[in-house]
Amino acid sequence: MNWHFENDRPIYVQLVETLKLFIVTKKFKPGQRLLSVRDLAFEAKVNPNTMQRALAELESMGLIYTERTNGKFVTKDTKLLNHYKKEMALEKVNTYFTAMGKLGFTKTEALKYLKGDEK
């Protein structure tokens, strides 16, 4: 697992992003039981309180669920997984067009670059 955090943004926000990525790319498989908060925190080398907060957020997004005595599990809802994956992909696309815009390219020009037929 690849955990990496920048110090200039809230750690819990970055944890949510990382865990979301693990879930939609099925590094954490649908229906898989998650490690305990403590073990996950240790793996990510973050404070267990921060991990707890990130997991609560993922739970409110529906990406994980708690089974009372069993722990936390990754959702099996494929539709939801695809929804978040699409959302994340669109964010990346936006980032690309924004960056190209800063370089002075229109959307059409940026698209040409993407296809590799820029002149």
């Binding site: 943004r9 750690i11 404070n47 309180n49």
Partner: protein, 229 residues
């Protein structure tokens, strides 16, 4: 509340080391006590540990500082108080005699993981290894509050990582850890809350993540700006 400081003042002669400190430290948090050299960090820590007396009141789990509070506070001082001619085994026995809540098995387990020979005298060890041994001793106490004064000062980055990992893995549910340091970028990832102290006064307190969000900067950057020389 785990720790409450009410109107705490401390003077060294005419020098005001702490000015009217009011502070509450909750349970279950890792708190960074951050401030430049000479800002009053160690003085505050020593008051909480009962190694100094000042004006005002300090309560730990509702009790005044004294023998009862010392039982539930594990303290790693900035400078060692151990006899360097002792072997690790001797120090462990010493800790066992001193503290009811010291878990010798835990200490041996952590020392073994590091490949430290417990028959070795402290004096034969490198600075980094000594720091690790002392941290292990402190973290092997089942305390309610751990106070670590500059635990990562003067050690190499790999040792720093080890120290931070040891702090995290031994962070018990319900206990709190106060880490005093001026090496902020190394520790800020694991902090819940921060206390900035400047010229003996509380300058800023808050949640580390909230401060990052508010200012769009790391705690280290915020610190550097606030304390620009």
């Amino acid at each position: 509340m785990l720790v409450e400081c009410k109107n705490v003042n401390k003077n060294y002669g005419k020098v005001k080391a702490l000015k009217n400190i009011n502070l509450e430290i909750p349970e279950g948090k890792i708190i960074g006590l951050l401030g430049p050299n000479g800002s009053g960090k160690t003085t505050l820590i020593k008051l909480i540990n009962g190694l100094l007396t000042g004006e005002g009141e300090i309560f730990i789990k509702g009790k005044s500082v004294g023998p009862e509070s010392k039982k539930i506070v594990a303290y790693l001082p900035e400078r060692t108080y151990l006899d360097m001619n002792m072997t690790v085994n001797e120090v462990i026995n010493y800790f066992q005699d001193f503290y009811d809540n010291f878990d010798a098995n835990e200490a041996y387990k952590l020392l073994e993981k590091l490949g430290i020979n417990t028959k070795d005298k402290l004096t034969t060890m490198s600075k980094g290894t000594k720091e690790k041994v002392q941290l292990i001793l402190v973290m092997s106490r089942k305390a309610d509050l751990y106070i670590l004064d500059e635990p990562i000062g003067g050690v190499d980055p790999a040792t720093r990582d080890y120290i931070l990992e040891t702090i995290l893995t031994n962070f018990q549910v319900g206990a709190s850890i106060i880490i005093s340091t001026h090496l902020i970028s190394d520790v800020e990832k694991i902090l819940d809350e921060i206390i900035f102290i400047k010229n003996g006064e509380i300058y800023l307190t808050g949640s580390a993540d909230e401060l990052r969000r508010e200012k769009g900067k790391s705690i280290d950057e915020i610190f550097r700006e606030e304390f620009k020389c």
